[in-house]
């Protein structure tokens, strides 16, 4: 099985020599400016948010809620990337080797995204959280410690798998693949626990007294979906810009599209499972969350999520064309990223605006700033290393991968 070319037909053979220009970010490539562009966006976006937010008491509350939505948006994409890399190693996946480095570059943003949560912890806690229940768990000290632990674990995992992968580029040591596989399993366990509790702390506890044991999985499902949407966009954009030529093909894009479809369905499965049990039991302490979101324009937002986050993209993504055509998949991915943003907005904002959706300038500036931090870190990682794991033992298998 080690020789993937054996059963392949002659037409699927690829050139043996890959061009350096498609494996590295070439000098003068526009993507080399991503860190600079990201930094400008971050400074402008976050600076404007702080300037507007500290003008009045009401604006300050809006500021931290908008900041939270923006931070969660980019954080969830990075967490999805970490999940993808962990699953890649633990399942010994072959097809995804050529796109793994892009995912590693996305997950490399995790240590930098921790910075976005520092102002929230330092200044935003009073505006965001009004805990009256479970004081022994929900108190500021323990909350700060937990948040630090989550980010420490995520950053450690991202750095560990990024470093071993880069090390293999230099040494070509096959043992590194084995080491990454072995560490990916405890890594997945840690990932599952930290993401679950992170969602409990930062999203569920916004709604005082409300709890749902499936909530962590719901947040994870949306995160993974958002990651695959961003992943598809990144890969399509890279190929359009002359990167990864003859390395990443329509076949790899097709598989990313399949995973996107999977997590569109998985998100809906989780969202409905949570809704059904609460609706059926009809217990006041549980229904408060949905009662709030049945009010005013939040109900419309929920309906948009039902159709836009699930029904329409689900049926569109069933088609082979939508997954293999770059323009179609890019359009769907952009749409799904917007839906993921609305999902987070729908989770966070009803507490601040109980009667309905109230768009704010701060929503836009905070989002731009958070995306700027994310882009800067992502662009920095892209520049630092090759665009594919150059000496991964499964690289030949991945290069010749085809969907049957």
């Amino acid at each position: 099985m080690s020789d993937p070319g054996h059963h392949s037909a002659p037409s699927s053979a690829r050139p043996a020599v890959l061009r350096a220009a498609s494996l590295w970010l070439p000098a003068g490539h526009p993507w080399r400016r991503l860190p600079a562009i990201g930094l400008v966006l971050a400074v402008v976006g976050l600076g404007a948010s702080l300037a507007i937010g500290f003008m009045s008491e009401a604006a300050r509350s809006q500021l931290w809620h908008s900041w939270l939505v923006g931070s969660l948006f980019v954080l969830s994409i990075a967490l999805g990337a970490l999940f993808f890399v962990l699953v890649h190693h633990s399942t010994q996946a072959g097809w995804s080797v050529v796109v793994r480095r892009i995912a590693e570059d996305i997950m490399a943003t995790l240590p930098f995204l921790a910075l976005l949560f520092v102002p929230l912890l330092a200044f935003g806690m009073g505006d965001l959280f009004h805990w009256s229940h479970a004081k022994e768990y929900l108190n500021t000290t323990f909350f700060v410690i937990r948040t630090a632990v989550y980010f420490a674990i995520w950053s450690a995992l991202a750095i560990w798998f990024g470093r071993l992968s880069r090390l293999q580029d230099d040494t070509g040591d096959h043992q590194l693949t084995r080491r990454m596989r072995k560490t990916s399993l405890p890594g997945l366990l840690l990932f599952a626990l930290t993401v679950t509790f992170f969602a409990f702390d930062w999203l569920m506890s916004l709604n005082d007294g409300w709890y749902s044991t499936i909530f962590g999985v719901y947040f994870f499902a949306g995160s993974a979906m958002a990651f695959f949407a961003f992943f598809a966009l990144a890969v399509i954009a890279a190929r359009r810009n002359g990167l990864l030529a003859e390395v990443v093909t329509t076949e790899h894009q097709h598989d990313i599209g399949k995973l996107l479809l999977t997590f569109v369905a998985f998100w809906a499965y989780m969202a409905f499972s949570q809704f059904l049990l609460i609706w059926y039991a009809n217990l006041p302490e549980e229904t408060s969350f949905f009662a709030q979101r049945y009010t005013g324009s939040w109900l419309t937002a929920g309906a948009v999520l039902l159709f836009g986050h699930f029904l329409v993209p689900f049926f569109l993504l069933l088609s082979r064309f939508a997954k293999r055509n770059p323009k179609a998949l890019a359009a769907l991915s952009l749409w799904l990223l917007a839906m993921h943003l609305l999902d987070l907005y729908w989770l966070v904002m009803p507490k601040l605006h109980p009667v309905g959706l109230v768009p704010s300038l701060l929503d836009a500036t905070a989002l731009i700033g958070c995306c700027g931090v994310f882009l800067a870190a992502f662009g920095g990682a892209l520049k630092r290393q090759a665009l594919v794991p150059l000496r991964d033992p499964r690289l030949p298998e991945s290069l010749t991968f085809e969907n049957m």
């Binding site: 059963h7 392949s8 037909a9």
Partner: protein, 201 residues
């Protein structure tokens, strides 16, 4: 290929069977047969060969459409049955909820959708492959047994509009076949060497 294969009287030529040495030779031969315009033919290999469907010029399978239709039918019947029972046939008030409580109907609607899709996939696959087929004329060829071991074959059936015993055999030879034989139609498994006519060079 094709759902309707005419039944031939025993003894008549069913088609030409050609054996190739390697997957690569078979692959290129398939391109040749495809380009010659044949439509009623098939390739037989012990394992899947990547890209062979393109070399053969096969169109995308219609099976996904069958699955889509049967899955939607399953889901519609699921919600339809529950809705009819709860609102018309035997309406009951359950925990103060409306008769048509759609959230409660979703799990069964989903499951029946999956069930319909699964039935569509399995039965549709059997139908498109004309299975179960208890006997196939190609079984008359002893050599053909190796299609499940180490042999790579192309069979062109005689009801193909372009089929002509002489010219088809010539084409297969030119495409690099090691051996070409004309297989006679039979309704029963033949005794070894019985119904097979070796095409004379």
């Amino acid at each position: 290929m094709g759902l309707l294969r005419p039944s031939l009287p025993p003894g008549e030529v069913f088609g030409a069977l050609a054996e190739f040495a390697t997957p690569a030779e078979l692959y290129h031969a398939c391109e040749g047969v495809r380009d010659a315009g044949y439509t009623r033919w098939d390739a037989h290999t012990p394992f899947p060969i990547h890209g062979l469907e393109r070399a053969m010029g096969l169109r995308a399978s219609r099976l996904p459409w069958v699955v889509l239709v049967t899955a939607v039918l399953g889901a519609v019947s699921g919600i339809g049955l529950q809705g009819w029972v709860s609102t018309i046939a035997y309406p009951l008030v359950i925990s103060g909820k409306p008769f048509f409580s759609w959230p409660a109907f979703i799990p069964i609607t989903f499951e029946l959708g999956v069930l319909g899709g699964a039935f569509g996939a399995v039965l549709g696959m059997l139908a498109f492959n004309q299975l179960p087929t208890l006997h196939h004329p190609l079984f008359a060829s002893q050599r053909f047994e190796r299609a499940s071991d180490d042999g790579f074959f192309i069979s062109i059936e005689s009801w193909d509009p372009r089929f002509d015993a002489g010219r088809t055999v010539d084409l297969l030879r030119r495409l690099g076949a090691q051996e070409v034989e004309l297989v006679a139609s039979s309704s029963e498994p033949a005794k070894p060497g019985d119904a097979t006519t070796r095409a004379t060079p």
